[in-house]
Symmetry: C2
Subunit: 333 residues, 2 copies
């Protein structure tokens, strides 16, 4: 429990942990070796901290993220690491200055991007995760098509998302190598400078890509915290105790509207999470008598990205003191 | 697939289904017999549809919802069916005119509400769900304490949330009766007019409460649709096909940031949902050849409330035509 009277529920970032995470990733992946993925934290204020630490290129998942970064003066080299097919979104993407590098994995996505005036592209290659990405042997042909349409093809990207949670490090290294062999084959066929891949789970085991698209390292979540990574959990959800029931539980004022739930319940360091409702989480612990209505406590979210996207702002705290506020200004599409 | 070119992902409401749901609940629970719970749809525009259908009292879960309804002229009788302990939120609650009826389940929550200037209260009674609510035999004593502090105690509320998904109707009726016996015992001790309870799952089996706090009936979700209720699924998530992979899947541009996931994956009527990522859902079906990049398709969310809370707006459609837009203007706290 901390003493600051933030509104509840509120996302709270620990300054020391944030600083540790930025320093740790910067030692492993200085400057452009890291292309931070803003989808994890959706805040230009936090992106600026990374920019100030020397990481001036960013990865985005949505047009809104790219627009927001550009408007904040952080758009000198943005990669929108996703296919865009919506006509209105393509027009917005093409209007951003400096030109954003988009991703394409098919003739249709290239043709739509070209028709909308998108000027920079990477070829998105499937490296084992069943999601977007062409097969490696199609990548060269797609690059030719994009260049014939006048586009600057900067290289390739591929996301080994299926390998982020491989818990054994040696196994992770072997699997990432096989996955990246596909990307490197495509890179040979495509040309250009960029070989963009990776995430927090493989930030130091993916030594084949020349830039890593990690984002979760910055704030963390309980799932990534189960890996052997040197990052600290910086983000918690501060909430207030609403009810202490002598039958054996207490209730706090944060639930499904404040937590990304696809990785399961949050973690409560003082006991067990029974279940989450829209605006409540019911908790139980050995000694209820230490809890009173109005007490503050903290939950650790299971999945960072969708948790942050539910909030309007996050607060930076140093011990008991609230020292900064970050608007979650890159939400929606 | 429909022809309108909404941005994607977008929440889409079918007009005929919405009208059906409003008419159906209105026949069972006319006027004040229904106190619609706005937490399910978080939109003053949709609340106004219910107001115009004769339901002029509303249930809220947050101070923000109560503020928004009052500002929209829909606040003549609001019940904030939740304990509020945050000092700033209590001050905001007390400032709303006309006075909102708050809930309390302990001496502490009564004292905090009274000190903040909250004037109307119900006693929140635990009727079997391990969440907020006092035991029935404490309710009278708490009502006395609130009245001694000058508050208008309007009655009791209790939410039989643990019974919403009892699939056998006869069993649901028996269990609701036992649950409501606790609430009615408390109501006798508390006095006042309100016996407020229920939800969509028990809207017609809870015949003991004198007002029902249902909200999901309005738009629906796949979990409630599994029950024997007469409401229609009115809400879908429109998305665009980004990628069709001949290896056996297609990918659409809506995922964890657009869907409440605590009840599991959404449903896709044309095949199977493999998994959701932040901005993607990977789908598979028997015949991939009917799908092309740029096609529109729709996912059915598993849980309405946290899905809606992820969006800025919803669109009302009548066949191919977009006829209205509802801002999701009651989000956050």
């Amino acid at each position: 429990m901390i003493g600051v009277q933030l509104p509840t529920p509120s996302l709270v970032i620990d300054r020391a942990a944030l600083d540790h995470n930025i320093a740790t990733i910067g030692e492993a992946l200085p400057g452009r070796r890291l292309r931070p993925h803003v989808k994890a934290f959706k805040s230009t204020g936090l992106a600026r901290r990374l920019f100030d630490a020397g990481h001036r290129t960013f990865t985005c998942a949505t047009v809104r993220e790219a627009e927001g970064l550009a408007a904040a003066g952080l758009g000198e080299d943005l990669l929108l690491a996703n296919e865009i097919v919506d006509p209105d979104q393509l027009a917005r993407l093409a209007a951003i200055e400096p030109a954003v590098t988009a991703a394409a994995d098919s003739e249709e996505t290239i043709d739509r991007a070209a028709a909308a005036g998108v000027r920079r592209l990477v070829i998105d290659v499937n490296v084992g995760l069943p999601r977007c990405g062409c097969s490696p042997d199609e990548a060269g042909r797609l690059a030719d098509r994009a260049r014939a349409a006048g586009m600057d093809v900067r290289g390739v990207m591929g996301y080994e998302g299926h390998l982020m949670m491989v818990s054994d490090r040696a196994s992770r290294i072997r699997k990432v190598e096989r996955s990246m062999a596909m990307l490197l084959a495509a890179a040979d066929a495509v040309g250009g400078d960029l070989v963009s891949a990776g995430g927090t789970g493989t930030y130091d085991t993916n030594t084949w890509a020349n830039e890593i698209q990690a984002g979760t390292f910055l704030l963390g979540d309980t799932q990534y915290d189960s890996l052997d990574l040197p990052f600290q959990l910086a983000l918690t959800l501060e909430c207030s105790v609403l009810s202490v029931n002598p039958a054996g539980w207490l209730v706090v004022n944060a639930g499904l509207k404040a937590l990304g739930m696809d990785h399961g319940n949050p973690t409560w360091p003082h006991g067990e999470v029974m279940f989450c409702s829209d605006e409540h989480t019911t908790l139980r612990c050995e000694d209820l008598s230490v809890w009173s209505v109005g007490d503050r406590t903290h939950l650790y979210p299971a999945h960072l990205d969708p948790t942050v996207a539910k909030h309007e702002r996050m607060w930076l705290v140093d011990g008991e003191e609230v020292i900064d506020e970050f608007a979650v200004d890159l939400r929606h599409w």
